[in-house]
């Protein structure tokens, strides 16, 4: 089966979404690969975890990636909002450490709607905002034969049902492939 049979993916444009779990970066890059265009990645400057372009090249060309470093979460949100509103990038990823209020979440939605681009907040587990269009929990899973096996759970959806899918990444075609659950 191909990616087209994975519902709600790629995510709806003009909305802001959320993702949590250990596979959140993979989710963000897979989404960027499906969306195409420029990616703006907003992160706080102190975060020790940094993106490795030599690894993300399996998903997107690092030339399309712009990284903004901010000092605080409110600055992150302001930058993300401005980037979403301009519509210059097809995907704006922000990594957040603190819970997101309804006001901030709603502002992101409005900005994403104005710019017709997609927002994706990488959040810690259980700290989402009610304003998010969808929320995903992504975790890598062990598979004896494959090294990109992931379990993606849709845990919040404003316009549809929830679900669990097992996927893997096909580097050659830069596309997501849906697979049956591991071990079955």
């Amino acid at each position: 089966m191909t990616y087209s049979s994975l519902p709600h993916f790629p995510l709806k444009s003009g909305r802001a979404h959320e993702v949590c779990g250990a596979g959140a970066f993979v989710f963000a890059f897979a989404l960027a690969a499906h969306k195409g265009g420029k990616i703006i990645w907003v992160r706080e400057g102190w975060e020790p975890t940094q993106i490795n372009p030599n690894g993300s090249i399996a998903f997107v060309d690092p030339a399309d990636l712009i990284i903004c470093q901010t000092k605080t979460q409110s600055e992150t949100l302001a930058v993300a909002e401005e980037a979403l509103r301009s519509g210059a990038a097809s995907l704006v990823v922000m990594t957040l450490g603190k819970p997101l209020g309804l006001t901030e979440g709603r502002r992101l939605q409005l900005a994403a709607r104005d710019g017709a681009s997609t927002g994706l907040a990488v959040i810690p587990d259980g700290m989402g905002s009610n304003a998010a269009e969808t929320r995903w929990r992504c975790n890598p899973t062990f598979d004896p034969k494959d090294s990109t096996h992931q379990k993606w759970e849709l845990i919040k959806n404003k316009s549809g049902t929830l679900g669990v899918w097992y996927v893997r990444w096909d580097t050659a075609s830069r596309r997501l492939v849906m697979v049956s659950p591991a071990g079955n």
């Binding site: 250990a22 690894g55 470093q69 930058v79 980037a83």
Partner: protein
């Protein structure tokens, strides 16, 4: 040359330009020299009158000078600043005539034809030059003659003489031959022949002189005597990218200020377009009625000269301005410009690229342009150094990523885990998680780059392993055989 008007040229020589420039800022009566590393020694580059009186001279090693004169004071020379100072003096000298050129590193040449009467005649002009330069602490020697060559000779060798019009040869006849701007070899050669003065040279036979010394000698003589023309090249004024708007009534509304900025921006962009330049940093100064001023600085992600694109970028800055009792003057200046060629307008996604640059500019005003990065490939096997983070505004995206081995999607500083032996541990704890190794791929040995000092690579070579745990996480771990220990450095997709 000029019908009816004899050309008159003033030559200014600043014998101590460099020290005068420094002493203007740090006045000092003691012997003072500027030193420069020349010919493998720290030598005197320029010295003040007091130092000359103590017997020091240019080109002398500084250590010798210290021995001659124990209370000698010194500073390192800055020839770049001296050249800049000379250009400032050149601009100042245009008050006497519009045609002013540079003469070497420490002189100016002014074509004052027809402008001397404005200062009350030639004597008064020279006196005025002397007076103003001496008052500002710059020692000067001045020569005035019909030709550039003769004026130079009088400035350097005949202090205070003004050559009467049409009588150049008699005035400079008694000066030594070196006054003809000859190189040392030629002037020494002429003295050996017994031709010590310019009059000797002028009366000598020309053909043997040319045969012996080449055409340059007589060219210099002819230029000094006016039989061979010589040009003065005035420097072009550097273009100034600043415009201003003075208002009859003070304004305070944001929309009014933006309308004023729009007018200024159009003028400025026309100037930039004429010079094929693009603005990188723009500074809008708003002068208020109460003599305060407010500044709005705009740093652009790309050099730009399109007013329609720049104007919206000013909006956030102008919105934050406190207008007080009103703004009566607007000044817009491009404080940093870069060459920007005229480009053919293409139909392929030109607008899209511009949108991203404008976004970077707007984000840059919020978080600083230096905080917006892009990643560029680098030629190194060390994971942390296999890419460069460059400011997006000052770099272009590059291709050329070479990845031979799978690399993790994110990297973090190495986190130690408990483990012994060169084979990956079967069970380990990392970040308070208890993990079991499901599959291990490796090792891949990476050696430190000995030619670069790196604190993190002190532990020697590393054997990298890809560990896929049964719990799901896929980690990039390494073992340091020279100082046994296991570390986690990254996570795979």
């Amino acid at each position: 040359m000029f019908d009816g008007i004899q050309r008159r040229v003033v030559s200014l020589w600043f014998p101590r330009l460099a020290t005068d420039r420094v002493l203007r800022q740090h006045p000092n009566d003691a012997p003072f020299v500027l030193t420069l590393q020349q010919k493998n020694a720290n030598r005197i580059y320029c010295l003040n009158a007091e130092a000359t009186r103590r017997g020091l001279e240019r080109g002398m090693p500084y250590s010798d000078a210290r021995a001659f004169c124990p209370n000698l004071q010194s500073r390192p020379a800055e020839p770049q600043k001296d050249r800049h100072f000379l250009r400032i003096l050149r601009r100042w000298a245009t008050r006497y005539c519009p045609w002013v050129g540079l003469e070497g590193d420490n002189g100016l040449v002014l074509d004052v034809t027809g402008s001397t009467h404005l200062f009350g005649g030639e004597d008064a002009l020279i006196a005025d030059l002397h007076h103003r330069l001496e008052r500002s602490g710059i020692s000067v020697q001045i020569g005035l003659a019909d030709t550039r060559g003769a004026a130079w000779a009088l400035a350097h060798y005949g202090q205070g003489i003004i050559a009467p019009s049409g009588d150049t040869l008699n005035t400079i006849a008694e000066l030594p031959v070196a006054a003809l701007r000859l190189d040392d070899e030629t002037s020494v050669g002429l003295q050996r022949l017994g031709l010590r003065r310019i009059s000797d040279l002028a009366s000598a036979a020309r053909a043997p002189l040319t045969r012996r010394f080449g055409p340059n000698l007589l060219l210099r003589l002819d230029q000094a005597l006016g039989t061979h023309p010589e040009d003065i090249t005035p420097l072009a004024e550097p273009p100034h990218y600043g415009v201003r708007l003075t208002l009859p009534e003070p304004i305070g509304l944001t929309s009014d200020v933006m309308a004023g900025t729009d007018r200024l921006l159009r003028q400025l962009c026309d100037k930039l377009k004429a010079q094929e330049m693009g603005a990188r940093i723009l500074c809008l100064t708003l002068d208020r009625v109460d003599h305060g001023n407010q500044k709005v600085e705009l740093r652009l992600a790309r050099p730009l000269r399109d007013p329609n694109r720049i104007l919206p970028l000013f909006e956030s800055g102008v919105g934050a301005v406190d207008a007080g009792f009103g703004i009566e003057r607007l000044r817009l200046e491009a404080t940093q410009v870069e060459p920007l060629q005229v480009e053919q307008i293409g139909h392929v996604s030109a607008a899209q690229k511009g949108a991203l640059d404008d976004l970077i500019t707007r984000l840059g005003t919020r978080i600083g342009l230096e905080n917006i990065h892009r990643l560029l490939p680098a030629d190194s096997h060390i994971p942390e150094r296999s890419f460069i983070t460059a400011p997006a505004a000052y770099s272009d995206p590059e291709s050329g990523w070479k990845v031979t081995q799978p690399r993790p999607i994110c990297l973090f500083p190495p986190e130690p885990i408990a483990g012994t032996g060169s084979n990956p541990p079967d069970r380990f704890r990392w970040r308070r998680m208890s993990l079991t190794t499901g599959r291990a791929t490796g090792p891949e040995r990476i050696s430190p780059e000995w030619w670069l000092e790196d604190e993190n690579w002190r532990s020697g070579v590393r054997d990298y392993w890809r560990i896929e745990t049964r719990q799901g996480r896929r980690l990039w771990m390494f073992y340091t055989p020279q100082q046994p220990g296991w570390f986690v450095q990254g996570e795979f997709a």
